[in-house]
């Protein structure tokens, strides 16, 4: 039973894969980040087609929005320019990518093999909306939320400390 949702899934998935591939292979950091945004956006679409609208939203807002902006900010701060592009080309040339590619391909093959052979019958069915998620989140997973807060606290403290410039004597 094919439907628009299904088509959307596959299209978005394809876009996600391609853009991700491009993202990790760009020589200029900004380009990579831009592709990554595309990837994230398409993953958001995938989420939506899988019945997870809340997550789809957050994917856009936090991943594509917050996290990647952070990356961009750093790129700008470090002022990575063409010199880096040449360097990247040099780093990326030759067989540097061959081994990792093979490794990843094997892993992928394994994962696909197991998922396919697993004959996982269940479909991606019901939409689990924000409400249910929220209920679960602040019900059984409440402690998790608290922990996440500690996680962020740690991150904040750590990042602050690490990035603070010391007045050099």
């Amino acid at each position: 039973m094919s439907g628009p949702m299904e088509a959307a899934f596959y299209v978005a998935a394809a876009v996600a894969v391609v853009s991700t591939l491009l993202a990790i292979s760009r020589l200029v950091a900004v380009h990579a980040l831009l592709y990554l945004i595309v990837s994230f956006l398409s993953v958001a679409v995938v989420f939506y087609t899988m019945g997870a609208p809340l997550v789809a939203t957050l994917e856009v807002i936090i991943y594509a929005g917050a996290i990647l902006v952070l990356f961009l900010f750093v790129v700008m701060m470090l002022n990575l320019g063409t010199r880096d592009r040449d360097q990247e080309r040099q780093w990326f040339s030759g067989a540097a990518w061959l081994g990792p590619a093979i490794l990843s391909a094997i892993l992928l093959a394994e994962v696909i093999y197991l998922i396919v052979s697993g004959a996982t019958t269940g479909g991606l069915s019901a939409t689990v909306g924000p409400k249910e998620v929220a209920l679960a989140l602040y019900g059984p997973y409440m402690i998790g939320v608290e922990l996440a807060s500690m996680l962020l606290l740690g991150a904040v403290v750590g990042a602050t400390h690490l990035s603070k410039q010391e007045a050099r004597p």
């Binding site: 039973m1 094919s2 439907g3 899934f9 596959y10 998935a13 894969v17 993202a23 990790i24 292979s25 950091a29 990554l36 990837s39 995938v46 989420f47 087609t49 899988m50 019945g51 997870a52 997550v55 957050l58 991943y63 917050a66 996290i67 952070l70 990356f71 750093v74 470090l78 880096d84 990247e88 780093w91 990326f92 990518w97 590619a101 490794l103 990843s104 391909a105 992928l108 994962v111 696909i112 998922i115 996982t120 269940g122 479909g123 991606l124 069915s125 689990v128 249910e132 998620v133 679960a136 989140l137 997973y141 996440a148 996680l151 962020l152 904040v156 750590g158 990042a159 602050t160 690490l162």
Partner: protein
């Protein structure tokens, strides 16, 4: 009802994960390594959402939320370290980070 089998969702997650891994292993630029890790985490997230969707449970999505939080936290610290590193070494080359080892 959606006919997309869960396995396809998982496979998408797997593909993203693998691409992320490939990036992690291929790139020498630390920034792009971090990017690759984000891709891997994202792939895992996709898998979670797909799995949660299969069971019609919120747990998968909740897990995704936590991944998101963790990713954000990690990225912030990572970038802070990255900047430090760049300031010290003047490069983001992962392979020059060999003050340790050898």
């Amino acid at each position: 009802m959606n006919a997309v089998p869960m396995s396809h969702g998982l496979i998408l997650g797997g593909i993203l994960f693998a691409i992320g891994l490939a990036g992690l292993l291929m790139r020498r630029n630390l920034l792009l390594i971090l990017v690759s890790i984000e891709v891997m985490l994202n792939g895992a997230g996709v898998a979670f959402v797909a799995a949660g969707s299969r069971w019609a449970q919120p747990d998968g999505q909740i897990m995704f939320l936590f991944i998101l939080a963790a990713a954000a936290a990690e990225v912030s610290v990572a970038l802070a370290l990255l900047v430090r590193y760049y300031r010290m070494r003047g490069t983001l080359d992962a392979d020059t980070a060999r003050g340790l080892g050898e």
